[in-house]
């Protein structure tokens, strides 16, 4: 499993927060167009997991004509196995606040919100202090931009951007149909830029050092660094900043416990990669790389040979059937049926061939569910059932 490529560690995100005033001043004295071009040429893609080009997002919102626009920082970090956003907000909050203000300047928004998940309520006092200090400075330099915290209340689905808007509007967190996209019609039906915490922190790096410094890291289609939340059967769980494009084999060599059976890339909504596919799998966004390339919000969960993949899948499906908002039928019913289905096969109530029916159901959900939650249940379901079929049956 040896390759020539080594894991490339980096240290941008958690470093050098103290110059936020310089970065803010320097940026708001450049034209919005220049800043957008800087972002586009860095090829930064959204770090929440979906991977939409950040520069393009800002550009679309900037081009819309509207008297009111919003900037929202998505801190509803709920994907199982992800915990990097909490660390960013507690260690380098000013990077995120600065990036939000620069975004506001670029698109023409004066109001920003941080949607913080209810589980992270304990972050609120410190974050509020940082916001107060930041706001005072904005006033000092005559920059009109306010930031407020909006607390979530324990719903995974609210990390989906349109569900998040609904939640902020005081409604059930049920995703909307797209289009219209948030850049045109988001919170309160106004143009809204919504970025993940980590994405915003990366824009800080880009505005500070210039696009080239960022672009030179990583590989084609997957530029820059990414924070990885490493957990499970590993001797060193934690948060690591690595260049994108690494091979999973190298990752396992570094982080595995010598007995790694499979790695779940991208949390419960991501893919399970079995040992035999470590070498051909790279971590990054879809592109023309050789082999399989997996995008991720940074969740890397390692399982060693003592783990039953049936239990893992059972746990994921229980998660999804509870967190499905229940709005669309494929997801509401599909999650329940997949969960009951694997139990029926395991207990012998259904024949092993029933798994094929379930795989078909998972595929149907991928095509017909309204939002990313229902569409991605099939990722983990199919990759686990196809690779560990025996464990599902016996």
């Amino acid at each position: 499993m040896e390759t020539n490529y080594q894991l490339k560690r980096a240290d941008f995100i958690f470093k050098n927060e103290n110059d936020w005033k310089d970065v803010l001043n320097k940026s708001i004295h450049r034209s919005p167009k220049e800043l957008i071009n800087e972002l586009i040429s860095s090829e930064l893609k959204g770090r929440g997991g979906a991977g939409f080009p950040t520069g393009l997002k800002w550009k679309l919102s900037a081009e819309v004509d509207s008297d009111v626009k919003y900037v929202i920082c998505n801190a509803d970090e709920g994907e199982p196995g992800t915990f990097k956003d909490r660390e960013i907000l507690s260690l380098v909050p000013f990077k995120v606040l600065t990036a939000m203000a620069i975004c506001g300047y670029v698109v023409g928004a004066t109001e920003g919100y941080i949607y913080l998940r209810g589980e992270y309520f304990f972050l609120k006092p410190e974050l509020t202090k940082a916001i107060n200090e930041f706001s005072a400075y904005c006033q000092e330099i005559n920059l009109k931009f306010s930031i407020r915290i909006f607390m979530g209340s324990g719903a995974y689905i609210c990390g989906e951007e349109t569900a998040l808007f609904e939640s902020m509007e005081g409604k059930r967190g049920e995703p909307r149909n797209k289009p219209p996209y948030p850049a045109l019609s988001g919170y309160m039906n106004k143009p809204t830029v919504i970025n993940n915490v980590e994405t915003l922190a990366h824009t800080y790096t880009i505005f500070k050092y210039g696009a080239k410094r960022f672009y030179d890291l990583g590989v084609q289609y997957s530029r820059g660094t990414k924070l990885f939340s490493v957990s499970g059967d590993t001797p060193k769980p934690g948060i690591y900043e690595l260049e994108l494009g690494m091979s999973l084999a190298d990752f396992v060599n570094d982080f595995g416990d010598g007995d790694t059976k499979a790695v779940q890339v991208g949390g419960a909504s991501g893919f399970l990669v079995p040992r035999k596919r470590f070498a051909e799998t790279t971590i990054g966004y879809q592109g023309k790389l050789v082999g399989i390339s997996l995008p991720t919000g940074g969740s890397m969960m390692l399982f060693n040979s003592s783990r039953s993949m049936y239990n893992v899948l059972d746990n994921y499906l229980e998660f999804f059937r509870e967190e499905s908002c229940g709005q669309c039928t494929p997801c509401r019913v599909g999650c329940q049926q997949l969960w009951r289905g694997i139990k029926a096969v395991k207990s012998g109530e259904k024949k092993a061939q029933y798994l094929d029916k379930l795989l078909k159901l998972a595929e149907t959900m991928q095509w017909t569910a309204k939002c990313g939650l229902g569409q991605s249940v099939g990722n983990s379901f199919s990759s686990i059932v196809e690779n560990f079929r025996e464990e599902m049956i016996y």
């Binding site: 970090e77 709920g78 994907e79 199982p80 196995g81 992800t82 915990f83 956003d85 909490r86 998940r117 209810g118 589980e119 992270y120 309520f121 304990f122 909006f150 607390m151 979530g152 209340s153 324990g154 719903a155 995974y156 939640s167 902020m168 509007e169 005081g170 409604k171 059930r172 967190g173 309160m188 939340s229 490493v230 957990s231 499970g232 059967d233 769980p237 934690g238 948060i239 779940q264 419960a268 969960m301 783990r307 239990n311 893992v312 746990n315 994921y316 229980e318 998660f319 509870e322 967190e323 908002c325």
Partner: protein, 163 residues
């Protein structure tokens, strides 16, 4: 005006009475009373001039907005994959054994409620739990017993009424 109605009026004054202030108001009531009673949801509807069914619909969507009477300290044990692999069941057993309640139940003195919850975002420090807004990580049964004893001692000192 009873205490709940007064609290709701204060919250509405603080956040505003438009629909997009509903969640902070619901959270404010839960913060004080630990759950949303039917009466408080109706009162919120009246205060914001929106249908009570809308308030109920929103409130029941969110897992942290309880609508069943809860104890003063709500224990939420993470049951998602990593915590589950790293001994969540032992933690639950330790709590159940000490408090003599099952998941979803409240102790007879109204002090503790025990719930399970989805990923708390501390997978690298599993297993974990929340007690109200406080996070406890890298738990062991012994550690859990110490933590709960502290809460019990604290409540004895402060009396059982209020916070």
């Amino acid at each position: 005006m009873n205490a709940t109605a007064l609290l709701i009026k204060q919250l509405a004054d603080q956040y505003g009475r438009s629909r997009n202030n509903l969640l902070p108001i619901l959270q404010g009531v839960v913060e004080q009373e630990k759950y949303l009673s039917e009466a408080s949801m109706i009162e919120i509807a009246r205060e914001l001039d929106i249908p009570a069914s809308d308030v109920f619909g929103t409130a029941t969507f969110y897992s942290f907005l309880e609508h069943k009477k809860m104890g003063r300290y709500i224990i939420r044990v993470c049951k998602t994959i990593t915590c589950s692999m790293k001994g969540k069941n032992q933690i639950l057993l330790a709590i159940q054994d000490m408090l003599k309640i099952g998941v979803g139940e409240t102790t007879s003195d109204g002090l503790f409620s025990l719930l399970q919850t989805n990923c708390l975002g501390f997978c690298h420090k599993a297993p974990t739990m929340l007690i109200n807004n406080e996070v406890y990580t890298e738990l062991t049964p012994e550690k859990v017993r110490t933590i709960l004893s502290e809460y019990m001692a604290q409540s004895r000192e402060g009396g059982t009424n209020g916070n």
